[in-house]
């Protein structure tokens, strides 16, 4: 019993003395911190993808709380999360549309003609400084997969020398579009069901010489849905502010098989390899 009493006294007094010390120190060296930053950071995805342009999620949280960035700056967040953050901070959330990246190119190795053999670093950005890799087309995908390595979400796969975005995995952070040396990965509304898978600005005759998958600029699709497709020079694109629905594929009957839904495009790319293997 004696032991217990004394122990309690000794430990208690020591604790109190030290506690007092800390209390004084905490007062003296106090640092103001905004507790909201941690809260907001907790709501963000925490992937630190850098898609917002800040150094990671907690940095974005700091900037959102300080009002230097809008609550919807994170490209990855779902709309509900943005609303939650805005509500927490007492701001009005702006609506944002979900975007996905898309590689507008059909230049698989099976489709492409090679201008030269490439011997060097297998990285798009390095290759771009050196004749742009081996493929003849200078507008299409180089295919060394720098975007795939950059993607934090594993949404890009390089199949047969062509980067393909899996829209169901893509969160639209835009890092791939940023890193692509040809700047040919586009961020488009996820709602757009079809894309024209060719990025070339060359004359159709020239581009068909270089790539069997190139758009031939026949404009059948534009004629089918004039409002919902756009063409500039020789380049035909889906009008992403007023996207057509998937039925345009049927209507247009694209002779180059360039106007496709992402699923059809993926299948075509995969089939290309099989065909090649069959031929070999």
């Amino acid at each position: 019993m004696d032991t217990i009493i004394l122990s309690v006294i000794v430990v208690g007094i020591t604790g109190m003395v030290l506690g007092a010390f800390i209390a004084v120190a905490a007062k003296k060296f106090a640092v103001e911190l905004d507790p909201r930053i941690d809260e907001v950071a907790g709501m963000l995805p925490g992937a630190n993808c850098g898609g917002c342009g800040f150094a990671g999620c907690s940095d974005l949280a700091k900037n959102i709380v300080e009002g230097k960035a809008p609550a919807g700056r994170c490209p990855v967040c779902a709309a509900e999360t943005v609303e939650k953050i805005a509500a927490y901070l007492g701001q009005a959330a702006e609506k944002k549309e979900k975007m996905v990246a898309v590689v507008l190119c059909s230049g698989t190795l099976s489709n492409s003609k090679m201008a030269a053999g490439y011997n060097g670093v297998l990285d798009c950005r390095s290759a771009n400084l050196l004749n742009g890799g081996g493929k003849a087309c200078r507008f299409g995908c180089i295919g060394f997969g720098t975007c795939a390595r950059t993607c934090k979400f594993g949404a890009i796969e390089v199949i047969d020398g062509l980067a393909v975005v899996h829209p169901e995995l893509c969160v639209g952070c835009g890092q791939c579009a940023e890193i692509c040396p040809r700047k040919m990965i586009k961020l488009v509304p996820a709602a757009a069901p079809v894309h024209v898978y060719c990025n070339s600005l060359e004359k159709p005759v020239l581009r068909r010489k270089k790539c069997a998958g190139a758009c031939i600029s026949c404009r059948k699709c534009v004629k089918a849905e004039p409002e919902k497709m756009s063409s500039q020079g020789f380049m035909v694109r889906v009008n992403y502010s007023n996207a057509p629905d998937a039925s345009i594929v049927e209507k247009a009957q694209c002779p180059a098989k360039c106007l496709l839904t992402p699923e059809e495009h993926l299948k075509a790319v995969r089939d290309g390899i099989k065909k090649n293997e069959g031929a070999a």
């Binding site: 090679m114 201008a115 030269a116 053999g117 011997n119 060097g120």
Partner: protein
């Protein structure tokens, strides 16, 4: 004009290769370097076979085979291109073998090879990425894990007696060794262990430091690991290494120089603590460590200054362990410890680019 065009042969479009400059390359490759190292190890191998007979050859074959097998299996497992052809596994295996006692069992070789190839090299990403010298790590692991077989079961050298040496294997117990009679205390254990055991005597090293024994140490007529014994053979190999430009001379010079100075100071201040510098240089792993293990390209510093610091560190740590530590030999420990320091050394022996001045560097 067009007729002429038809007769003139020009490069086909699409047949050309584009690559970054330069378009000329020196005639060298990794496998060539490794083969040159193997060639330089040949004198040591021959010396080991001469002194320890066929069992020594067996140990070397085991180690090289296990190392190459493990490398091959790893590449298969990781679905990589096989890296057997660069011969780096063979070099590791052979150096490991030269660090083992002559009558090592096959399982000792296997464990050492596993540690060297898998744990010290491949899990770090393979050739070029390993921060530690694989052979040194293999030996350190064996020294710690199997202290007995690694430090006590020495066999006396039997110069030239290849088959007789095999008999020693079958009866390799301390008893039979003692019964053979012809051996002196110096040969039934490595000279280093003797030095350690006798440290309490007044002049314990007299027997170890005669001109005769020095000659034996030099040519390798003493107990010890396969490659540790013959300083002569290692030196012949070292000439090859230097001639092939495979090593930087700064490292062995720094290692051996520091060891000599350090042991000289200790020896002169207190002769009963340790034998003189020559003894230390010629016995144990000093030579093979300084020339073949410390100089491993992957795990040594890049700059000259760094190499000197690296070598000096190895020398000092080796001597400290030899003189005061619990193990008779500290070379491989020292190498691994200094390997760990290499990134720091590289960082602080930073080279300034050509034309760098304090003014321009400071203004940055």
């Amino acid at each position: 004009m067009s007729e002429e065009n038809n007769t003139v042969k020009l490069p086909e479009p699409g047949s050309l290769i584009v690559s970054s400059s330069p378009h000329l390359h020196e005639n060298s490759s990794i496998s060539k370097i490794m083969l040159q190292v193997l060639l330089c190890l040949l004198p040591a191998v021959l010396a080991a076979v001469w002194f320890f007979g066929l069992p020594a050859l067996k140990v070397m074959v085991y180690c090289v085979a296990f190392c190459m097998l493990l490398e091959y299996l790893w590449c298969r497992l990781m679905k990589q291109k096989s890296t057997l052809c660069d011969f780096s596994a063979a070099v590791t295996g052979l150096i490991l073998a030269l660090n083992l006692p002559s009558h090592s069992q096959w399982w000792l070789c296997a464990v050492g090879s596993f540690v060297a190839i898998i744990i010290a090299k491949q899990v770090f990403g393979g050739l070029g990425q390993n921060p530690f010298n694989p052979a040194a790590v293999g030996r350190v692991a064996l020294l710690i894990g199997f202290t007995g077989p690694m430090t006590t079961q020495w066999v006396a050298p039997t110069p030239g007696a290849f088959v007789g040496a095999f008999d020693a294997v079958t009866t390799a117990t301390p008893l039979t060794l003692a019964k053979a009679g012809a051996f002196q205390a110096t040969t039934s254990a490595t000279p280093l262990s003797v030095a350690k055991n006798c440290a309490e005597n007044v002049d314990p090293f007299a027997a170890l430091q005669t001109a005769d024994s020095y000659w034996n140490y030099f040519i390798g007529n003493m107990g010890g690991s396969l490659g540790e014994t013959s300083a002569l053979a290692i030196l012949i190999g070292a000439i090859g290494l230097l001639a092939f430009r495979l090593i930087r001379w700064e490292i062995p010079v720094a290692v051996l120089g520091t060891m000599a100075i350090f042991t000289w100071i200790v020896h002169t201040t207190s002769p009963s603590t340790t034998p003189g510098p020559l003894f230390h240089l010629l016995t144990g792993g000093a030579m093979i460590g300084a020339f073949f293990m410390a100089t491993d390209m992957v795990t040594s510093p890049l700059t000259r200054r760094g190499c000197v610091i690296f070598g000096a560190g190895i020398g000092i740590i080796t001597c400290v362990i030899r003189i005061w530590g619990g193990f008779p030999e500290g070379m491989s420990f020292a190498i691994v410890i200094m390997n760990a320091l290499v990134p720091l050394i590289d960082r602080f022996c930073f080279k300034r680019p050509f034309g760098w001045t304090h003014a321009s560097g400071g203004a940055k």
